[in-house]
Structures are given as C-alpha cells and as structure tokens.
Symmetry: C2
Subunit: 218 residues, 2 copies
DNA sequence: AATCTTTTTGAGTAAATACTTTAGAACTAA
DNA sequence: TTAGTTCTAAAGTATTTACTCAAAAAGATT
C-alpha cells in the first residue's frame, strides 16, 4: 500500500478510536513509523487528510452504493439497500458524523462537498418514497414528504451520536447498526398501507432478530 | 455581577459564537479584561467551566421549565410547553449540543449529569404521551412508545446540529426554533386521533404562521 | 553509470495553550 | 484598626501542536 493510503487508513482508524480532536498529525506519523515530514509531503495539513477521507472514501461509499430506482429492484428492497449504505458509511467514518457540525464549520470545502452529497441523498430518498407510494405501499400527503425525508436523514445522520450520548464507552458493533434501522422502521410504519403491512412487518421481524442476535454476540 | 458569573456568561457567549474548541481560557479572560490567574481562581480548568454551565444553567432550564402532568394543564398544552423548554435550552446552550458526543466523551462527570437529565426527560415525555393517549388524543402501540420517545428526543437533541450542517453561517433565530417544532409535529401527526385532529391542525397552523413570520423578519 | 525525480528522514521551530505562582489589593468582621 | 479572608494581577512555564526544511535515500530513465 502506498504511503498516502496508509496515512488515510491509519487516520480513519485513529480518529474513530480516539476522536479526531485527540489525534495529531504527529500521532498519525508515529503510529505508522514514518516521519512528520513524510506525512506533510503527502498532505498539506490535517484538514487536507479529513477532506481526502471524505472525498475519496465516504462520498463514494454513500453515492455509489445508493440504490437507483429501477424496474429490476423492488421498492421495499431499495429502502433496505439505502439503509445499508447509509449506516455502513456511518459506522466506517463515525469520527466524522460524531463531530459533524464542528468539522463542517472549520472547513468550507468539506461543507460544500457534504451538502452536495446530502442533496443527492434527499433526491434519491424522495424518489424512493414516491416509488413506494406509487406501488401503493405507502401513503402520505405530498406536502409532508420533504419533512419526512428530512427527519429520516436527521435520524440517519445523528443516530450514532445519539447512541453514544446514551451509552458510555459502549462498543460499536452491529447491534448499533440494527438499532438504527429499527428506529427508521418505527418512523415510517405509520405511512405503510394495509396492503404492504405484511411485507413491512416481515422486514421488521427480520431486523429485530438480527438486532437481538447482534446484542447477544456482543 | 460576580466575576464567577461573568466568566460563565462570557463563556456561553463565546462558545456559542466561535465554537467551544476555538475558545481558550486565555480568550475568555482577555474578553473580560481579567487575568488568566483570576479565571483559574474561580475554575479549576476549562472543563470545570463547561460542567458548571451545564450544572447551574442548562440542567435547571431543562428540568424546572418542564411541565408536570397535572389536571390543570391540558395534555396538548403540555407538549407545547415541553417543546418550548427543550428548544429554548437548545438555543441558549447550542455550543453544547452542537458538540455533544465529544464533550461527553471527554468529561465523565458531565456525561453522568447529562444522562440523568435525559432519563428524567424520557420519563416525563412518556407520561405526557400516555396522558394524551388516555385522553383519546393519540393512539399508538404500547410496544412502540419507547421508540417514539427516543426518536422525539433524537430530533430535539440534534435538530440544531442538523440545521447547521445544511445551512452555512445561517443566523440562529426564532425560525430555527419553529422549524424544529414543526418537525416534531410531523413526527407525531400519524399518531393523532381523529377526535383530536382539529386541535392538532390548529396548533400546527399557529406554528407554521410563527415560522413564516420569523423567516420574513430574518 | 549517470542523471533526474520522487519519496523519506529527523531535527527543529514558532505559536498556542492550559495552567501556576507569588504577591498584593480589596473587602469583611471583631 | 487590625487580622483574616477573598479576590485579582502580572509574569511567567511546561507542553503540545502544526508545520518546515535541508539533505539523504530510493526509484526511474536513459
């Protein structure tokens, strides 16, 4: 692996474990047994590392794995895939989401890229819910849709932060992931039509089982 | 005003304006034209200041203004009062909520007090929703209630953070507050019974008007 | 082998930061 | 008035932190 990539991987690891604030460029270099000068040969500064992490990894994870609405994919599966993509990014780059407002305030370029991704997510999520409505699986007022999408994004974005405020040094494992998915399901349940309710309850049952399983393994 | 109080007030102001991370004890002292030594006479360190802000101000704002369920207060008004208390605290101590996971991770005593307050809020909010259900104004599965309460707290806690990630250097005014209230109303609408829907829609209408008014003033 | 380019080292620095210490001023109560 | 207590100033210091730079090592090209 190239030094540049090693720096990025080590940074993600250390940031997640110790918090971005507590990890200095010198720490990262020491962790990799390279010199600070070497690190600064590859990155202009610490912000540049964070920006690169988002730009080269998180951004792509979010956008590429996002399911497109298409005839081949059933609407409900699309939602499942969506949750997978979002929560996966959330777990892998948790240092980022746990400190989101501070990091974005400090780095306008990062904010710009973040807002751009969020805009795309909003669009795709809206398409997705509209597809579910067209398939008579969900029902909601047209005027409510933007707010529902907003709340779903809010839950996604801050689920891990919320979890961490409640649970002291709790290990981050799959149960946290499934716990987040279950919250999303609670949120959308009232909008599920009778005809789709069986499908919905089956999906919820599956995630509850996975949640309990992950809990017992931890 | 005593020096100790001046330090607390100035800290709240500077933390909110510039972010806790960017405000040092020396900055606070300089802002007040006192010496660093003076500041350290009143507080052991910066964490001690943050802890005192939460303990002496935010905590009490949250707990004291929280409406108790009582025969004199109509259930729906209780929810309105609840939202007022929570969002008011959110605005006044926004530096705290915008950086919540990091601050709590760094300071276990703070976390303990925070979790304690959250526990009380969960209890009161549960009482409140139960009262609304008993008054036939809301309907929900008993098993769903804890999750609904959780999501409401999540929206409350991170509404401002979410807002800030979306809107660059946007001024924090009343429209942000009302925007948060409206999100809460979207969240609970599906659980409102037919008999209470008129009351609910009237409340929503009022908050929408206030929201638009605050927006046009900004 | 010689030359050029890329990568890496490691010692080093300037600035920032959290915090200390000593001494004296101001207030308080007998 | 005096003795005790509380408060404040001023001048620090030890550490951390982000970042630099000259020179050497490693790699590529001809």
């Amino acid at each position: 692996m190239k030094t540049r990539d090693k720096i990025i991987q080590a940074s993600i690891e250390l940031f997640n474990k110790q918090g971005e604030r507590n990890v200095t460029t010198n720490h990262i270099a020491a962790h990799l047994n390279i010199s600070p000068g070497n690190l600064y040969y590859h990155f202009r500064n610490k912000e540049d590392i964070i920006l690169s992490i988002y730009e080269e990894y998180a951004r792509n994870l979010l956008l590429d794995t996002f399911p497109k609405v298409s005839p081949e994919i059933k609407p409900f599966d699309a939602v499942i895939l969506y949750m997978d993509a979002v929560f996966q990014a959330l777990m892998k780059f948790r240092f980022f989401y746990v400190n989101l407002p501070v990091l974005l305030a400090k780095n306008p370029v990062l904010r710009e890229k973040y807002v751009e991704v969020q805009y795309t997510i909003t669009e795709r999520l809206t398409e997705m819910l509209n597809a579910l409505r067209d398939a008579d699986m969900m029902i909601f007022d047209e005027e409510e849709l933007p707010d529902i999408v907003s709340i779903l994004r809010l839950i996604n974005t801050f689920w891990l932060s919320f979890y961490q405020t409640q649970n002291e040094n709790a290990e981050i494992n799959d149960s946290v992931f499934y716990g987040g998915v279950l919250k999303i399901l609670v949120m959308i349940r009232p909008y599920i039509t009778d005809s789709a309710m069986d499908d919905f309850l089956a999906a919820r049952k599956m995630y509850r089982e996975r949640y309990n399983e992950a809990l017992s393994l931890a």
